[in-house]
Symmetry: C2
Subunit: 137 residues, 2 copies
DNA sequence: TGTTGACTTAGACAAAGTCCAAGTTAGGAT
DNA sequence: ATCCTAACTTGGACTTTGTCTAAGTCAACA
């Protein structure tokens, strides 16, 4: 994640302790935290960090393409640092657990030109839903 | 939509004017209203209808499988009465416009067993994104 | 026509996110 | 090293979206 911070600094980002902490919290695989969860974990490392700054920083990371915003449930948005490898999401209908998954083929290819209605379509997000092993029991 | 109301009555629904109005508002193709939009249109026909009733009724229609809930943006949920023909959604990144679309093949089939991690996967929701003709200009 | 449980209502509350004016600070300039 | 200033952060007010509850109303059956 250090390279992330360096990369952003190269783009004119000011490297503040708040931004460093948010980037640290978002490090890892299968991370899909809500903004408030990010804030809670950031506060553990930097007690004075405000909610507004967490929201701002997450929004900037999304705008810069370093983090994905995922809306799996119509409630809080979640932030996924795994932006550099294409993937989709598998969500448990019972407990809400989320996993990154890698379907075969390019989902975009399944939409014929006749079904694009003049849109310049650039992405396809797939959410698979079902019960996880624990919730099936 | 009258058959819808009759069907629900057969399932023990009490047929109130409020429920009738919500069902009327949701009638049509390419309808993807938020709860507050449904409420606004319902109020035009039945001024005393409350927000709580609109939320309750939408929730019931979803639970009964007559209406789909779609979360395209992490903001308000939208309600799609086209629940009986499988389809996906194409969303404009500029203005938020939504269209129903019909991709080829079954998106579920693209997820291999090895990528299901023991989940009993039942549905796949696809959101295509891009700029609509107006927003491209 | 009466009865009753299901339905509706208004408003308080909660959760998620945005906005702003005032204060602080990273990092280039001196 | 220190100063300056635009960029950043802060707390809190505010908005939007959704849930809950106690009290009142009414659809449907008897």
């Amino acid at each position: 994640m250090n390279d992330l911070l360096e990369r952003l600094r190269g783009r004119g980002w000011r490297l503040t302790s708040q931004r460093r902490v948010v980037a640290e919290v978002l490090d890892g695989e299968h991370v899909h935290l809500t903004a408030d969860q990010v804030h809670a974990r950031a506060v553990a490392r930097l007690p004075e960090i405000s909610r507004a700054t967490v929201y701002n920083t997450l929004g900037e990371l999304v705008a810069l393409g370093e983090v994905l915003e995922v809306a799996t449930d119509g409630r809080a948005r979640r932030y996924d640092p795994n932006a550099h490898r294409a993937h989709q999401h598998l969500v448990c209908s019972g407990c809400g657990a989320i996993r990154d998954v890698h379907p075969q083929g390019d989902p975009l290819a399944a939409l014929p030109a006749a079904e694009r209605f003049g849109f310049a379509v650039t992405t396809a997000e797939v959410t698979y839903r079902g019960l996880c092993p624990d919730c099936r029991a």
